[in-house]
């Protein structure tokens, strides 16, 4: 039997990258898998996607998915600037970027904030495990206060909450998830790739080698026992209207459903669980995040969403043609233009 294919006629296999060299069981590999599934299911064209990353375990992963897309493993904490440049040069590209808590939470903090401020349209995934893997087990800036690790003992510093930082910086799409929650990661990725603005996904992604003790809030056992999704998430494409009505009527009271309409006409359908979180409310998003941090509650899902403001390319008022594809005439003014500038500088 021939393999199942998507609407481009491609099998899922064709969205894979090279074999992963991360530790077996690493949370990052499950996220890569969800990225492959997402791109396959949505039938994305790989040549229109770029994959960007910084430095660290997480940042190696773009080599392991979407082998048909150009990728760039850049410098520590500076993926955002490289992505900014690439997307200015060609605003028709979509960008999936992968960073980690070491990459974003320390040296990358400035670029993280500023890329959000400029609203560069891309998916910014933070594979957050609270620990430095490649250098063998130091605390990262997102590690919980009071946490114990073999390498350094007890962490006495409060954590930096990267989702909260994203909301504060003006990010229009902020989510948190757990790499063990494949369904939720998949739904959030599908929404994020449609969002014409910076989308930050802070995904707790356990390090099986250095930070997977049940006492760690960034471990599999902890995540499986403590994850509290804020909603059930479903992404409805623009042509899913009928089904949407059906579900609303059959399964839920109207007050329990939040439909967030996205820029392209699709909907993020959120079915309320045991809380009243409305991701369209910035103050609520910050309260949920602050309480989660204070009480170490592992709330996941879409934390904040707002109608995206103009992207950087919009603010720059660029021509329609991607800058990288401009031709000679568009790139070089005629000789008369130079002569006229020269004339204006001569003795009058």
């Amino acid at each position: 039997m021939p393999p199942r294919t998507n609407h481009l006629g491609l099998a899922r296999n064709e969205y894979k990258g090279r074999p992963s060299t991360l530790c077996p069981g690493c949370g990052h590999d499950s996220i890569s898998n969800q990225l492959i599934s997402m791109a396959y299911e949505l039938g994305l064209e790989q040549h229109k996607i770029i994959k960007m990353s910084g430095i660290g375990c997480s940042s190696k992963t773009p080599a392991y998915f979407l082998g048909g897309s150009h990728g760039f493993n850049a410098l520590h904490g500076r993926m955002p600037s490289v992505a900014t440049g690439a997307l200015l040069a060609n605003k028709e590209l979509s960008c999936i970027a992968v960073s980690g808590d070491g990459d974003t939470g320390s040296i990358g903090m400035g670029q993280f904030k500023h890329v959000i401020r400029r609203n560069v349209p891309f998916v910014y995934i933070i594979e957050n495990n609270g620990v430095y893997g490649l250098t063998k087990g130091q605390f990262s800036a997102t590690a919980d206060e009071g946490q114990f690790l073999k390498y350094y003992g007890t962490n006495h510093m409060p954590p930096i909450d990267l989702a909260l930082e994203a909301v504060i910086a003006g990010c229009t799409f902020v989510a948190r998830s757990f790499s063990g929650d494949a369904k939720q990661v998949q739904a959030l990725l599908r929404a994020a790739v449609r969002h014409p603005g910076t989308s930050v996904l802070d995904i707790i992604s356990p390090c099986v080698t250095f930070n997977n003790a049940a006492t760690s809030t960034k471990s599999y056992p902890y995540g499986k026992d403590h994850e509290i999704p804020l909603h059930e998430i479903q992404i409805l494409a623009p042509d899913y209207v009928e089904e949407r009505d059906e579900i609303t009527i059959e399964d839920y009271d109207e007050g329990d459903i939040i439909d967030v309409e996205m820029h392209d006409g699709s909907f993020i359908r959120l079915k309320k669980l045991d809380n009243d979180h409305d991701p369209r409310n910035r103050r609520m998003a910050m309260e949920v995040l602050e309480r989660s941090m204070r009480e170490q509650i592992f709330s996941t899902g879409l934390l904040y969403y707002e109608e995206p403001r103009p992207t950087l390319a919009d603010t720059e008022e660029l021509v329609d043609t991607p800058l990288a594809l401009l031709n000679e005439t568009e790139l070089r003014p005629p000789k008369e233009a130079l002569d006229s500038v020269m004339q204006s500088l001569m003795v009058g």
Partner: protein, 610 residues
């Protein structure tokens, strides 16, 4: 704290002197003197007199002493002279020293107030302007008086040395972009001082200006503006930067000339991002170059330091991008507003490991424009970052120049494969790998994101990689890659702008330099020729050095390398690249923060040769 007394001064002879003398204008920073000084320079330019103006300014918004030197030279010498015959002493804090620096027979133009506190000399001419009194007579609203006070010395200078008043009005109007009210307000002060000087001062000096035709068809501009204009004609389309003196006005220049590239609906073909720091600026231009943009950043020493890691990545991953380093005096924060050629080695070797960067070394305004556009072609042809190493003197001062030549060849994107040519490549070679050198010149073929071909994608990384761009820690892959990069640098030697070589008829003495020392050297060489000492001359215009540099060294008994840095960095590079027979290559390295003077070159060479 004044500019150090310049030794080696040539004494004037009290003969009438026309269009061949220099001013130093001493004021307080932030007092509006920049406009007055520009007006004087542009007026002389309009009179047809070859002129230059050099701003020797402090790192300060307001209050610290600042000097501006203006040199008129009927013979077309535009280097800064060690000695200025005339000082406008408008800063009480430095006036005594400014006057002490004058040669006998010099001229001091000052305010009546400052005149009371200067230690007097009996061998110079003093002209005192009652600035406060004149300002009370003007119609200038009191809020603006401090800003236009310096126009009083413009009026006095115009009267004393014969600059036409109506010409000054035209220059003021151009300076204020056609705003009649502001121009008239300033001109009103100029005229008051002009008339007062005519009525009250008896001229006792030999200096005067006279119209001539030495600037017809020429332009005046700063090197930063020239480089920016060049970039606009070179097809720059992504600019990222962070403000830093003396490079800030480079990007201001691009913003100013961006309109030349706008389409009918005023949309931009150049994205300009003020980044959060130089780390991000470098990242943006590297990302853009990777994605097929023609990207540029402009910075100076501290910024270049921050860009080092990206420079190494771009060198190793082979990504085009253009970096302008408008060099200022280091190390560290150094003298942020003083010129230097002290970043030559650092820029050439920027990045850890065995990295070596292409450097273009503009020596004048025309080259700032030419390298402005050419740097993009070189960068894309070689698939490597290109550093244009300019300096504060070229970047921020007004230079006299012939008009620029329109680019003499079409834009080059280098070896970029689109979907069709990629397929042809694969048909011919069986496969395509990002770092496969099929031409034997060290330069591989690249694809850019968005190329619709199933084998177009590759993974860019700063880690070890094989020719297919796949991660590799194998020693043989590493050595092969580094060998190819070295081959690419050798290919570059002959593709880059070649040295300017002038045979001055000497059998023995060769002078080597780079960058902006040329004018001072030209003048010093003329003086030496008058003394019967002939010299040959080579100005390097790019790194890695061209092979003709070696030939030049071998052809002379004595080679002097003149450079404006403390350690003789070009000399060191020559010794590194040309290790055989270099005992006769000696540095004449100064590095005192100021543009080089012919006086220092002349004296140093005489001393060495004597």
């Amino acid at each position: 704290m004044a500019i150090n007394a310049q030794t080696h001064a040539k004494l004037d002879t009290r003969e009438p002197v026309t269009n061949d003398f220099a001013f130093s204008v001493a004021t307080k920073n932030g007092s509006g003197s920049q406009t007055s000084n520009n007006v004087l320079v542009m007026s002389l330019f309009q009179m047809g007199i070859p002129v230059n103006g050099k701003n020797l300014f402090p790192s300060n918004i307001k209050g610290l002493p600042t000097w501006y030197t203006i040199r008129a030279s009927k013979d077309g010498y535009t280097a800064r002279k060690a000695l200025t015959e005339i000082v406008v002493a408008y800063n009480d804090g430095t006036a005594t020293e400014d006057v002490a620096n004058l040669p006998p027979g010099g001229v001091c133009i000052t305010t009546d107030k400052i005149a009371r506190v200067i230690r007097q000399r009996d061998d110079i001419s003093y002209y005192q302007i009652p600035v406060a009194k004149l300002m009370r007579q003007t119609e200038v609203p009191s809020a603006f008086r401090k800003q236009v006070e310096n126009m009083t010395y413009v009026g006095a200078v115009a009267q004393l040395f014969d600059i036409p008043l109506d010409l000054i009005y035209d220059v003021l109007l151009a300076n204020f972009k056609g705003k009649v009210k502001v121009a008239a307000m300033n001109h009103n002060v100029v005229k008051l001082a002009y008339d007062w000087t005519a009525d009250n001062i008896a001229k006792t000096d030999p200096y005067r200006f006279e119209r001539m035709d030495g600037t017809q068809g020429k332009i005046m501009m700063t090197g930063n503006d020239a480089g920016a204009l060049g970039a606009v004609f070179g097809g720059v389309n992504v600019v990222a930067w962070y403000p830093i003196t003396p490079s800030t006005s480079f990007v201001d220049g691009i913003i100013g000339f961006r309109g030349l590239r706008q389409n009918d609906s005023q949309e931009n073909t150049i994205a300009i991002v003020q980044a959060e720091d130089e780390l991000a600026a470098a990242g943006i231009v590297v990302g853009a170059g990777w994605a097929g943009g023609r990207s540029l950043t402009s910075t100076s020493g501290p910024g270049i330091s921050l860009m080092a890691e990206f420079a190494g990545l771009a060198y190793f991953a082979e990504i085009p991008a253009v970096f302008w380093n408008i060099t200022r005096m280091g190390p560290s924060t150094g003298l942020p507003t003083r010129t230097s050629q002290g970043d030559l080695l650092f820029t050439h070797f920027l990045g850890h490991g065995d990295s070596r960067q292409i450097c273009l070394l503009p020596g004048n305004l025309k080259e700032a424009f030419e390298f402005g556009w050419k740097s993009f072609d070189i960068s894309e042809d070689l698939q490597t970052p290109v550093f244009v190493v300019s300096d504060l003197d070229l970047g921020m001062n007004n230079w006299l120049s012939d008009p620029f030549d329109y680019p003499d060849k079409p834009i080059s994107r280098g070896k970029v494969l689109d979907a069709d040519s990629l397929q042809e490549f694969i048909n011919e070679h069986g496969k395509w790998g990002r770092y496969m050198d099929v031409d034997g010149d060290g330069i591989a073929y690249r694809t850019v994101p968005g190329t619709d071909h199933r084998f177009a994608a590759y993974f860019t990384r700063g880690t070890g990689h094989d020719e297919m761009a796949v991660y590799s820690e194998r020693s043989d892959h590493w050595v092969e890659n580094m060998t190819r990069l070295r081959l690419k640098m050798d290919t570059a030697r002959d593709m880059l702008p070649q040295p300017i070589i002038e045979n001055g008829g000497s059998a023995d003495i060769g002078i080597i330099t780079f960058g902006t020392n040329e004018d001072a050297i030209r003048e010093a060489r003329d003086w030496l020729t008058n003394d019967g000492i002939k010299t040959n001359y080579l100005r390097a215009r790019a790194l890695p050095l061209a092979s003709s540099v070696s030939d030049f060294i071998d052809a002379h008994k004595s080679v002097f390398v003149i450079e404006n840095n403390f350690d003789g960095q070009l000399t060191q590079l020559i010794r590194l690249e040309h290790p055989e027979n270099v005992s006769h290559v000696r540095p004449l390295a100064l590095g005192d923060g100021l543009p080089m003077t012919p006086d220092w070159i002349y004296d140093s060479l005489k001393e060495q040769e004597g």
